[in-house]
């Protein structure tokens, strides 16, 4: 599948934004977040910037961005529509909670807690909807499996925790609870990513050139002649292929930058204090940002679509 820059930025940025927003609210509800106005204010500002930036970027690849509002209408059947509706809805409870926490911290009525819980759940549901846009596409075997929703949720939590730790380190000593949470989510995401790749390398779509043409009973089916000499929309959009040696190299880059280095740097921050810890956490975030963009690029580039079977692919 063609890895569109706008969609890579959307899924990674808004994923981190929702993870951060979830952790800010959950942290405050459980009394784990550091006190004070500025850490919380910066946290909410960054999370909304990431979410809004991601959502806006996702409209850049549309043929008609001015009609994007129509995408909120078909939530009964479409995961993309559900994602849009949830993204808009999530602003409401999370925004209310953030305003309360920032400006009326001493006068938080009981209902605020309920709004906070609803907001935190909305963050999870929105990320789940994003993942289901891909996981619901049966023709793409690499996406249509249970690894994908789990991965989107884990990576959202992981990147959110890395942003949170880097931000809070600017204001004071890092909170051990969030450092440990980041470590746990990094380990879980690393295990998930390795399992996903092992799954991907050992599996093939049910569809074959034989089932695509229905000619299997006569023998092995190979493309003899393409319908035309030049590439068409389908081949450019769905037929994107990446050389296997590059894929392996990019997988190693992903593992190192997205998981292993942030893991070591966060571990370092747990044991040292002061500005060294802050520097380690910021470095962890920068590494993870490049790593996660590579991860998402591969998520698209390594995925094969059944339409390739009509254009000479041996499997999908």
């Amino acid at each position: 599948m063609h890895p569109a820059k706008s969609v890579i930025f959307f899924t990674t940025a808004s994923g981190a934004g929702y993870g951060l927003l979830f952790l800010l609210i959950a942290g405050d509800l459980l009394g784990l977040a550091p006190g004070g106005f500025w850490p919380a204010f910066t946290g909410y500002a960054v999370s909304y910037a990431l979410i809004t930036g991601g959502l806006l970027s996702s409209t850049f690849h549309l043929g008609h961005p001015e009609r994007a509002w129509r995408a909120l209408t078909q939530w009964r059947s479409s995961w993309l529509s559900r994602e849009g509706v949830m993204a808009v809805l999530t602003f409401l409870p999370t925004g209310l909670y953030a305003l309360h926490q920032l400006f009326f911290p001493e006068r938080m009525p009981g209902i605020t807690g309920v709004i906070g819980v609803i907001g935190a759940i909305c963050c999870i549901v929105t990320v789940y909807c994003t993942a289901m846009i891909y996981a619901s596409l049966k023709p793409v075997h690499a996406w249509s499996n249970r690894f994908v929703p789990a991965g989107y949720l884990l990576l959202s939590l992981m990147t959110g925790a890395l942003v949170l730790n880097a931000l809070f380190a600017l204001f004071g000593p890092p909170s051990p609870v969030f450092l440990i949470l980041a470590l746990l989510s990094l380990i879980a995401a690393l295990v998930w990513k390795i399992s996903y790749w092992r799954f991907l390398d050992g599996t093939k779509s049910l569809s074959t050139p034989e089932s695509a043409t229905g000619l299997g009973e006569f023998g092995r089916v190979k493309l003899f002649e393409a319908p035309h000499t030049e590439a068409n929309y389908l081949m450019k959009e769905m037929g994107f292929q990446i050389a296997r040696k590059h894929a392996m190299k990019l997988r190693r880059i992903t593992l190192t930058l997205a998981f292993v280095l942030p893991l070591l740097l966060t571990l370092l921050a747990l044991f040292v204090g002061g500005s060294l810890a802050a520097a380690a956490l910021i470095l962890a975030l920068l590494n993870a940002a490049i790593g996660i963009v590579t991860e998402r690029w591969l998520f698209f580039a390594e995925a094969r679509h059944t339409v390739g079977l009509y254009y000479g692919a041996a499997h999908a």
């Binding site: 043929g63 129509r70 596409l137 023709p139 043409t213 009973e217 068409n232 389908l234 679509h305």
Partner: protein, 249 residues
């Protein structure tokens, strides 16, 4: 509404494509382009049509496949492919705007170009690659089953079939109601063992393909190689034997 019709269409208009007959001449694709560039989804934009890298919107494309078999030898099968107007069309349900829809009255899957935002998700959801994005118009386009031709009262009755069907020089394409088991197309499918493409994708396509007939072997005057052996033998006339001798020298 992008949900599929509440009452599954009883009438299911679609195509039956005979892979035994198709000669791969691409006439159906050309006439499709010709009709539809002035029809419901007009224009079917081409970019750089006379340049080095021409590309454009086509609703119908003709692939050619080689089928290898160690026992029976290989064969070439020409394979036209356009939208299959599926019963469970995933391109319809994934559409976030309601632009992609399936008609309750005849099962035709269409795009409302005024509502399409050009997100391309329907083209990802279709396992067959039936959707074609128009870069120029910023909307998705697809085979309309010539909805503007098959119901057109200004055309003579016999012309009210999709452009690909009316133009096929060898009669490899049939059009009709596949929801009616008594229709000509349904009978043809039953008689010839018509099948669905990629049934494992669970889209329940309406269009059906008829398999190539088995290769003829030996009978009916023998194989091509046998027919090419010299005809003259001892029972032939004097002149024929003399010619044979002369030519064999």
């Amino acid at each position: 509404m992008t949900s599929l019709p509440k009452n599954p269409p009883k009438k299911k208009l679609g195509l039956v494509i005979d892979l035994d007959i198709c000669v791969g001449c691409h006439a159906c694709a050309v006439n499709c382009k010709e009709w539809n560039t002035g029809g419901h989804s007009a224009p079917l934009t081409d970019s750089d049509p006379y340049g080095a890298d021409p590309t454009g919107v086509w609703f119908n494309r003709i692939h050619s496949f080689e089928v290898e078999n160690d026992q029976t030898g290989g064969r070439t099968v020409h394979f036209p492919k356009s939208c299959l107007h599926c019963d469970d069309a995933p391109c319809v349900t994934v559409c976030p705007t309601g632009a992609s829809y399936k008609r309750e009255e005849d099962g035709i899957v269409l795009v409302n170009a005024d509502h399409c935002i050009g997100c391309k998700l329907c083209s990802w959801a279709c396992p067959y690659g039936a959707r074609e994005y128009d870069e120029d118009a910023g909307v998705m386009k697809k085979c309309t089953l010539c909805v503007d031709k098959i119901y057109n009262p200004n055309l003579p009755e016999e012309s009210r079939v999709p452009a690909c069907v009316s133009t096929c020089p060898v009669g490899a394409r049939s059009f009709g109601d596949l929801g009616d088991p008594e229709s000509d197309v349904s009978r043809l499918v039953a008689k010839r063992g018509g099948y669905d493409l990629m049934p494992e994708q669970d889209c329940k396509p309406t269009n059906k393909y008829l398999p190539p007939r088995p290769k003829r072997t030996g009978a009916e005057g023998g194989s091509a190689a046998a027919r090419l052996t010299p005809v003259a033998d001892s029972s032939a006339g004097v002149l024929a034997r003399w010619v044979d001798k002369f030519l064999s020298a």
